[in-house]
Symmetry: C2
């Protein structure tokens, strides 16, 4: 590279630095004059952010949240049109405050305590039959009438419906096992509230509203449920789109827990193919959920998961894969197997850096990773965001989108917190407005929209983007 | 990749898995029958290690050390001939127990307390003049005569000479700034003991002994000092090699703190070239030390560092670079600049994954990274070793060697602890005896030995390796 007979040529050096900068996500985006002005502003903000004693991306999100919330970068990210949220689970998309303050105040809402310190809810016209390993049900209306301070009660319920805590997260959640167990308990607590039909419509509408308020115009959410649910999603989405004409739409990824056995999976895949046929506009495809480390690997389900392609039936896959650090185990092959099963995107892909063959396939075939920084940190795959594998992947513009997985669980909301972690934490001082633009574009490019829908979404997004830039560039 | 008309072909899948396995460090090493037997044993041990509730590579080394020490993998790694240690600082190579129990018991040893809770030593025939911002000197002999419990005193001195602590390391060292400050204090404490001429010979001989006992047969150490020191290193190394004919030798990398200015650097480089000419057998080359984030970047010193090549004089560089997570800053260009200045190896290279151009250059030019896992963890660049960038680099056989930086500082010794972290933490279940063999071979391949010396070293190492395998394979 150098002649070897003199000092390194500064022009050559500069060329290499520029080459490297151009290789990152958004590195080849050409900025308009207004964008350049906004970028200069962003650069100053980021420099100030990086010299703070408490650098938020190096901290646990539970401790960093208040710092992020007051960051000028975060305010800007909130206003920024971020495109779509492509990896969000339906039961964790609405903040718990709304659940408690709104839903649990509705009539006929019962609550009980499980013997492992969680809570359950049920809506019932008569007194419900007690659950095994739970206290008797209490009608919340009665309970609230009895306690002196309903705020305390509500706060305590909220504390049971999220992983977020004011205490030291390392002490409360010392291991992956502990936090995953709590995670699953919290999901079951939400279940009783959200699955009640009259609540469900409002809940989902509220979810779309919260994402829309965070300047997100498209959603690929995942759900566990069947025809009735999809029908409701369809109706609510239509209603929401009618109320908000600049919302591109929402589609649902039908999911099943990876704990099931092969024959259940075969039946569910059959059902998924049927639903995909019946609800092509609202159903995006199929996925498996639950902790990868404890569930069955994709390869175990290969027969069931091959049914669609064998029958020539369309059922796009959006597999979670590589949300693990058990390097070299069977589960760790999920990344390769997701690709071999022609997945459309990869959920998380945290382990991808350790799999050069899978990484290569994902890049060559344009299979984007749905990177959920806060989720990975809270679920203890990584501490300091600067060590998140996506930092390396974005340095070479590997196809990625930023998503939030279960924002309500983590005390986050929408996508802005995760965008903050990606922009400030993964990108360092080097990522710029072009990187943010590329991430937003990626979320449309790799969404489940049809080519025609993407075109329309892109035009809508571009108008919003230009408005955002002109309103914030000085 | 797949036909797309049926389930993935299991043979094709298997081929891709094998391809990926073969790409890792040591993935192409062909094992003998005896090696295969030992590998089977190792695989079982690793499987047991990975299901432990407390997985040592996921823990801070200070908490993991006792677990590692009792691990059967660790015992094996201690016995394994590891080749050379290529990144070790001379003042932190001997465990502090030896310093305190041996050196501070010698006559004329004085100690004082600094007003920032550190200690200093001096050997002096008369009573030494007090240092600024320090307590008056106390003769240790007198102090020990006065105290009731000399063991307590010795333990307290030892505590001041290492970063290792039994308390929670996150509490004691909450930030990089705090631990680097302590780090520098501890170095200064050792300084007064080690630089005393009569001690220095013994100290260095003891250091070679401790590495030799850990089955390391070659050393590239770094030192801050000049002609007298190099002369002493030469003599002691000759003595040690005479006493231990199977020791390949030790060479010294002459270093300067990166806090100096350009004109001091020019003078020091001149001196280094002279020393390199005068002590070609004992001096390996030149490097800059001190915390990169606080020091001047390599590019600031480009004129001085270009002197050797401009004059056609040999002065190999072994630059520390990329020991930072300040992505995108000036300091973060050290990796590229080290390569442009034709460095022979890269110290740490922790940030390399975020620099695809530098990564490519390092790979193509065979410039190995000296990976020091425990150092990076203790100095707070990474928590869980599975997220160390070297895990990804070793997945694609990037040129690396494993070293220990300042083992005495970290409560480690030799290389075995760092090999453990690399083998169990970076490699997961996938790395095997071939990986270990390759790492040992890398340490000879990328050492500062001449081609002829390498050939001899390789033959010596191979004999020891075969003996190790035959003694441990059942
Ligand atoms: Zn998910
Ligand atoms: Zn070092």
């Amino acid at each position: 590279v150098t002649g070897g007979l003199s000092m390194p040529d500064p022009r050559h050096r500069e060329a290499l630095i520029q080459l490297e900068a151009s290789m990152q996500t958004g590195g080849q985006v050409v900025l308009t004059d207004a964008e350049q002005r906004l970028d200069t502003l962003l650069f100053q903000m980021k420099q100030e952010e990086m010299v703070r004693a408490d650098f938020p991306p190096a901290m646990h999100f539970f401790k960093a949240r208040d710092l992020i919330r007051t960051s000028p970068i975060f305010s800007l990210l909130q206003k920024m049109p971020k495109g779509g949220a492509l990896h969000v689970h339906d039961f964790a998309m609405v903040d718990v405050e709304w659940l408690v303050k709104n839903v649990t105040y509705r009539p006929h809402c019962y609550m009980c305590f499980t013997d492992n310190q969680s809570i359950r809810f049920i809506f019932s016209s008569g007194w419900p039959k007690a659950l095994p390993r739970c206290s008797p049900w209490a009608l919340l209306e009665n309970l609230r009438a009895k306690v002196i301070n309903t705020t305390d009660l509500d706060n305590s319920i909220m504390g049971n419906m999220t992983l977020f805590t004011d205490q030291d997260p390392e002490t409360v959640y010392p291991s992956q096992d502990v936090i995953w167990d709590t995670f699953e308990q919290v999901f079951q607590a939400a279940w009783g509230l959200v699955t009640y039909a009259p609540v469900f419509r409002d809940y989902y509408y509220q979810g779309l509203t919260q994402f829309y308020m965070d300047n997100i115009y498209e959603l690929d959410g995942s759900t566990h449920d069947t025809a009735w649910t999809l029908k409701t999603y369809q109706e609510v989405t239509r209603q929401f789109t009618a109320d908000h004409p600049d919302f591109f739409g929402a589609r649902i990824i039908f999911t099943i827990h990876r704990g099931v056995n092969a024959s259940v999976m075969a039946r569910v895949v059959e059902e998924a193919m049927k639903l995909q046929r019946d609800f092509p506009d609202v159903m995006a495809g199929f996925d498996l959920v639950g902790r990868e480390d404890r569930g069955r690997p994709l390869w175990y389900f290969r027969d069931a998961l091959s049914l669609p392609v064998e029958r020539g039936v369309t059922l796009p896959f959006f597999f979670h894969a590589g949300e693990t650090d058990l390097e070299g185990t069977e589960v760790d092959q999920n990344l390769l197997d997701a690709l071999l099963l022609n997945t459309s995107r990869i959920g998380h892909g945290f382990a991808l850096l350790r799999h050069p063959v899978a990484k290569d396939l994902s890049r060559k075939r344009g299979v984007a990773l749905e990177v959920c920084p806060i989720s990975n940190q809270v679920l203890k795959l990584v501490n300091d965001m600067r060590n998140h594998p996506a930092a390396a992947l974005m340095a070479e513009n590997h196809p990625v989108v930023i998503s939030s997985d279960d924002p309500a669980m983590f005390g986050a909301s929408g996508l802005s917190y995760d965008f903050y972690e990606a922009f400030v934490g993964f990108g360092g001082i080097r990522s710029h407005l072009g990187s943010l633009k590329e991430l937003a574009l990626n979320s449309i490019r790799y969404s489940s929209l049809t080519a025609k829908q993407k075109e329309k979404a892109l035009a809508l997004w571009q108008r919003r983007w230009d408005k955002f830039v002109s309103e914030n560039a000085f």
